[in-house]
């Protein structure tokens, strides 16, 4: 399938491993140039950059805390200086907040809001004017099935992501900019030490239509499709990649 992504410029946040890394490599394979960032793991980001550059595309790898307005502006500016434009924005960076609503640590909650919600405002604010000017753009935000499963922290923050995505879809559709979410579930990923995922422990594969865990590559493939020219009439949606764990 010709995705029309060759030569396009894709910004991916949190591209050190898992979905971010897999997405970066999937776009590189389509011939897209990349602007990728991480908050602190530059060595891992450089690994992603080298692997992506092996596909013969240009990669700019930067350190950026996506919750800080000035850093997001700098990041996007450096991408514009290098490539002249940004066509696709993939908000992958996330921060997981877990626990009983009465026991939530409010500092953790704020950190979750900052990374999962406020950062999206900042990255969209930085890239949308250019997309509107060129009358083409793709915003893709990673969510999950947590709000379908009633998992409180991620469910709240990712549902907020979906609401925001739909607002962007509504406001920017006239510029041929689409905004969608990818909702992975039961995907095999690496977690940092100490970061348990209540979502994962709750996964019961035997009740699932496709009774196996999914791969990050299967999610990245959807990102590539949603960013392609073929997906220009899909907007405001939340597409699950979940082995049929939940139908919606």
């Amino acid at each position: 399938m010709d995705t029309g992504l060759k030569g396009k410029v894709v910004l991916i946040t949190g591209a050190t491993r898992n979905h971010g890394k897999a997405t970066a490599l999937a776009f590189a394979a389509e011939g897209a140039n990349l602007l990728i960032c991480t908050r602190k793991s530059m060595d891992l980001l450089e690994d992603t950059a080298h692997l992506a550059a092996d596909q013969g595309i240009k990669v700019l790898a930067k350190q950026c805390d996506v919750t800080v307005e000035a850093q997001v502006s700098d990041l996007v500016q450096s991408g514009l200086d290098e490539f002249g434009r940004i066509d696709v924005l993939i908000n992958n960076a996330g921060w997981r907040v877990h626990g009983d609503v009465m026991k939530l640590n409010m500092e953790e909650w704020q950190a979750g809001l900052d990374v999962n919600v406020h950062a999206l405002f900042l990255t969209c604010k930085a890239v949308l004017p250019g997309m509107a000017e060129r009358r083409w753009g793709r915003i893709i935000n990673y969510t999950g099935n947590s709000f379908m499963r009633g998992i409180l922290g991620p469910g709240t923050l990712k549902m907020a992501t979906l609401g925001f995505t739909r607002a962007i879809a509504q406001e920017y559709g006239e510029f041929d900019i689409t905004a969608n979410c990818i909702a992975p579930w039961a995907i095999t990923v690496e977690r940092s030490a100490g970061h348990v995922s209540s979502g994962m422990t709750a996964v019961r594969l035997e009740g699932q239509a496709i009774p196996r865990r999914g791969t990050i590559a299967e999610c990245a493939a959807l990102a590539v499709f949603l960013a392609s020219d073929k997906a220009g009439y899909i907007t405001g949606q939340n597409y699950s990649v979940n082995g049929g764990a939940y139908f919606s």
Partner: protein, 246 residues
């Protein structure tokens, strides 16, 4: 219909907006006592208190700081001091700023709406839950706009959609205490969601071809708070004249 709300204690936020006022009155007509609050509108609060006590039920009210967890706790404590417990929370999400397009919205304004609308509602749920758990009965109802489904002011879209996630999380965690948590998604009300930069209501389907009334929303709230609605949880019931379908 017997709602079993007589003598129950119901906390309603933002009586300054028409849905809050109308819901408070509807609960009073069912014989419930009311704890009323607003983050800014002392005049509406006073008027609502008068109207409600005239119906022969008890009511207390306060202006409170919805942006700080302590402010919310103190407000709820006022209700607990007066009535001993709160059975029902009807959270009318406060509007924190003029609704705007994304292109026009500042980061500060965005953060304020999210903080008051989403984190402020989280504070409210945390403040009322312990007493409900103790009594093994409770109803949490969040009254939200349709923006999270159809677009509109991006901050409201995010905050109100987030409340659906929060509601489902609380429904999952607290169902074992016979506490239900649901949302009512209103849409198509004159003066509530017709604002400059709003999603164009005129572009949506409109099967009933009219605006809704505040009473039509408060009736849904009464039902969700009633004993008969005890098996409904984690849901978002739309009261929107069919302007969008889930």
């Amino acid at each position: 219909m017997e709602t079993d709300l007589k003598g129950k204690n119901v906390l309603v936020t933002e009586v300054g907006n028409p849905l809050g006022r109308s819901s408070a009155l509807a609960f009073a007509r069912e014989g419930a006592n009311l704890v009323l609050g607003s983050v800014h509108d002392a005049e509406s609060l006073k008027a609502a208190l008068q109207e409600i006590t005239a119906l022969g039920v008890k009511a207390v009210g306060a202006i409170y700081d919805g942006s700080a967890e302590n402010g919310v706790k103190q407000f709820v404590q006022k209700g607990l001091d007066e009535f001993g417990h709160v059975d029902v929370l009807l959270n009318n999400v406060a509007w924190a700023a003029a609704k705007q397009s994304f292109a026009a919205m500042s980061f500060e304004s965005w953060k304020r709406v999210i903080h008051l609308g989403l984190t402020g509602s989280l504070y409210m749920c945390r403040a009322v839950l312990p007493a409900m758990v103790e009594r093994r009965w409770g109803r949490l109802i969040q009254c939200i706009g349709l923006e999270g489904f159809v677009g509109g002011d991006p901050a409201t879209s995010a905050a109100h959609a987030g409340l659906i996630g929060l509601t489902r999380g609380i429904a999952s965690q607290y169902g074992k205490y016979r506490i239900t948590a649901n949302c009512i998604g209103y849409g198509g009300f004159d003066g509530l969601d017709n604002f400059p930069g709003a999603y164009p209501v005129s572009k949506l389907n409109d099967p009933l071809a009219r605006s809704g009334t505040a009473q039509e929303v408060s009736s849904a709230a009464i039902y969700l708070a009633s004993e008969d609605a005890g098996y409904i949880t984690g849901q978002c019931y739309l009261v929107n004249g069919g302007k969008c379908f889930l």
